[in-house]
């Protein structure tokens, strides 16, 4: 995928000026937040479940290699195959091999962010295999040649008129005068078209929300049922999952599942939670003949044992971006790579390098709403701050910013000089503000005054007045 994270500021500016996008984002600002709040309030055990979910994942991470090996041996005893991929390229190659061996011409795909992370679609297309996204949102953006702008609502940036135009453009075999005025008719059209693709596909590729070590089971959580048709109908089912998706037992999975849908869409339970343990058994009338699990590392093992380990608890619910004022303002594409919002601001520098992704963890007000709603209690602002620390110590912070900061810190460590400077500033700004008590222009503060006035001080500092007031230069009143 083409990376535009280094141009984050320009991306954001364009997003803010995009009226259509801004209209679409109003859905995120309201719907997701209200629904999650309602679902969380309706379950008295919700907070305790969050604690337990985080504890389960912490335990998994501390014993990750052992759980992966147990998972692998159970997949094998279920008749499946496990493939290990250290990098995105390894994963792409392994999947292509499986598809080639199956003689695949088309593959259907359930929604998978890992597939986006490794750029699977483009790769398969170039290899002459047609990937067909079957989640409605993913299907829409595939038609548009776009990437998801949200990890659980990939087409949240698209409005209905655009979907209608795309369907007209692509579904040319359908009568041009067909009814397309309601979302229902668009859904029906997609259902009809994709039904045919499901039945004809040679290979079905899905992601996984959980990998259960105890039983070698992979699990997908969906609402549409596309993931199930993707994995049930073709001859070969390929699961692509990252290594941190492991949970020890079915009980542990159930615990995390309880906080997943509530945090994501505000549902108490998603419509379909599907547990898959290997290929078709003797006597099974349906199901795939082959079952493959591709386990992707792609840099995750580097996060283990570092300050970023907490991020590996993430279950990709999207609550952080649903509650993020920055995401609300600019949408997901401005982040410039696969993962947007607060979780993306932590992950992106890890995956594409802090030189390219460093803007993202800086573009946060640290309002803490993401951490407040994260079902896995990931301290997202803290992790973003860690990236800023790495940038600062690695001298990647913009030089002007670094100079200003250093000058300010130098002053802040010298109280006497600092107080002279603040007294002068209080006086100067007060004069500038005059009777209005504000100014619309301030030297070196154009970024502030371009959009808002600068309220001006009262004329002298508190500490200067306090000294006068108490008649003392001492340390206390």
């Amino acid at each position: 995928m083409h990376i535009t994270s280094p141009q984050f500021k320009q991306n954001a500016k364009a997003a803010l000026a995009d009226e259509q996008l801004q209209r679409s984002l109003t859905h995120v600002r309201k719907n997701f937040i209200d629904k999650r709040a309602k679902a969380a309030a309706a379950l008295p055990e919700f907070e305790a479940l969050r604690d337990n979910a985080a504890a389960i994942k912490n335990h998994v991470l501390e014993n990750l290699d052992a759980y992966l090996e147990i998972f692998e041996s159970n997949v094998i005893s279920n008749g499946g195959k496990v493939h290990w991929a250290a990098t995105a390229g390894d994963a792409r190659g392994l999947i292509l091999d499986i598809c080639r061996k199956a003689g695949a011409r088309t593959v259907t795909k359930g929604k998978s962010m890992i597939s986006e992370e490794i750029g699977l679609n483009e790769f398969l297309e170039n290899a002459g295999i047609e990937p067909v996204e079957t989640d409605l949102g993913e299907y829409i953006i595939q038609l548009r040649g776009e990437s998801p702008s949200h990890i659980i609502a990939p087409a949240v940036h698209v409005n209905m008129d655009q979907v209608r135009d795309d369907f007209r453009r692509v579904h040319t075999h359908l009568p041009p005068d067909r009814e397309m005025s309601e979302p229902e008719s668009l859904l029906k059209e997609a259902r009809g078209i994709l039904r045919d693709r499901f039945i004809k596909a040679d290979v079905g590729i899905t992601g996984a929300n959980f990998l259960v070590a105890e039983t070698g089971t992979t699990i997908i959580v969906t609402n549409e049922g596309n993931g199930d048709l993707t994995q049930t109908l073709p001859r070969v089912h390929v699961v692509i999952a990252s290594i941190e998706k492991i949970v020890p037992t079915l009980e542990d999975m159930s615990q995390i599942m309880r906080v997943l849908a509530r945090s994501a869409t505000g549902q108490e339970m998603s419509v379909y939670t599907t547990l898959s343990s290997g290929p078709r058994r003797k006597g099974d009338p349906d199901g795939p003949d082959e079952f493959h699990v591709v386990l992707l590392d792609n840099g995750r093992s580097d996060m283990l044992g570092t300050e970023f380990q907490d991020m590996l608890r993430c279950i990709r619910c999207g609550a952080c971006m649903n509650h993020c004022p920055v995401y609300h303002a600019i949408g997901g594409h401005a982040y410039g790579w696969v993962y947007p919002g607060p979780m993306g601001s932590v992950l992106t520098p890890q995956f594409i390098g802090v030189e390219k992704g460093g803007q993202l963890p800086n573009a946060s007000t640290f309002c803490g709403r993401c951490e407040e709603v994260c079902p896995m209690r990931i301290p997202l602002p803290k992790l973003m701050r860690h990236w800023r620390e790495q940038e600062f110590s690695g001298h990647l912070t913009p030089p002007a910013q670094r100079r200003n900061l250093k000058a300010w810190a130098w002053l802040a460590k010298r109280p006497k000089l600092y107080h002279v400077a603040t007294r002068l500033a209080a006086r100067g700004l007060w004069l500038l503000g005059g009777r209005n008590r504000r100014t619309g222009f301030l030297p070196f503060a154009g970024a502030w005054t371009r959009h808002r006035d600068m309220p001006t001080p009262e004329g002298s500092t508190f500490l200067a007045q306090w000294r006068k007031h108490t008649g003392a230069g001492g340390n206390a009143s």
């Binding site: 007000t365 640290f366 407040e372 910013q401 810190a409 109280p415 309220p455």
Partner: protein, 253 residues
Amino acid sequence: MSQPVKVGLFVTCLVDLFRPTVGFAAVKLLEEAGCEVHVPVSQTCCGQPAWNSGDRDDTADIAKEVIKAFEDFDYVVAPSGSCAGMLSKHYPELFEGVQVWDERSRAFAAKVHELVSFLTDVMGVQSVEARLDATVTYHDSCSGLRELGIRAQPRKLLQSVEGLELKEMNNANVCCGFGGTFAVKYSDISNAIVTEKTGNIDKAEADLLLAGDLGCLLNMAGKLRRSGSKTEVRHVAEVLAGMIDTPPIGGKG
């Protein structure tokens, strides 16, 4: 009679520079609650700009000075949830595993409180002696709300102000887009967020906007004045202390 409670007032750099009235309002409220207020005059800033820019070394230098200047008081109080959060939550994080300072910063952090929640939760203040004939709306600043759990306390004390009517705005708990240096580094995004915020403030149709953090107040006041809104802006302590002779932040609406 027991010894009076000795409080060290951490004024905060923004109050010191922009709004001394808030400092004096804090002193008045603390004294009325029975505290003996001390103001170490060597104080500058809590170090947040450095901390949030990833500059740990400068943050640690500044933090050590703050701790030294304040650790002998019974309590340390700041008229800001953001600075109080820095002192009480982030100093221990900063010094985690650092000899001597780990323990010392945690002992210090345990004494730190934001002004309004200190009055209600520690000093047991139930009401204030103040009067203001106005409708007000209250913005929950992020650090105070999420790091320190400040929500009910300011509302409770505001209800006791004679003549004051509280009108809640939509999304009072959503960020105003200030975020310290964020407002300058990402000014376009910050503007979009504060525009959303001031839209909600305007819809509340209150005479006065209050909050507990001067950074947010400067941001919202700057936007409200630029957009020609009628709502005026003050720090919550000014109203609770009845100190409203100073013109509002950013002047009149």
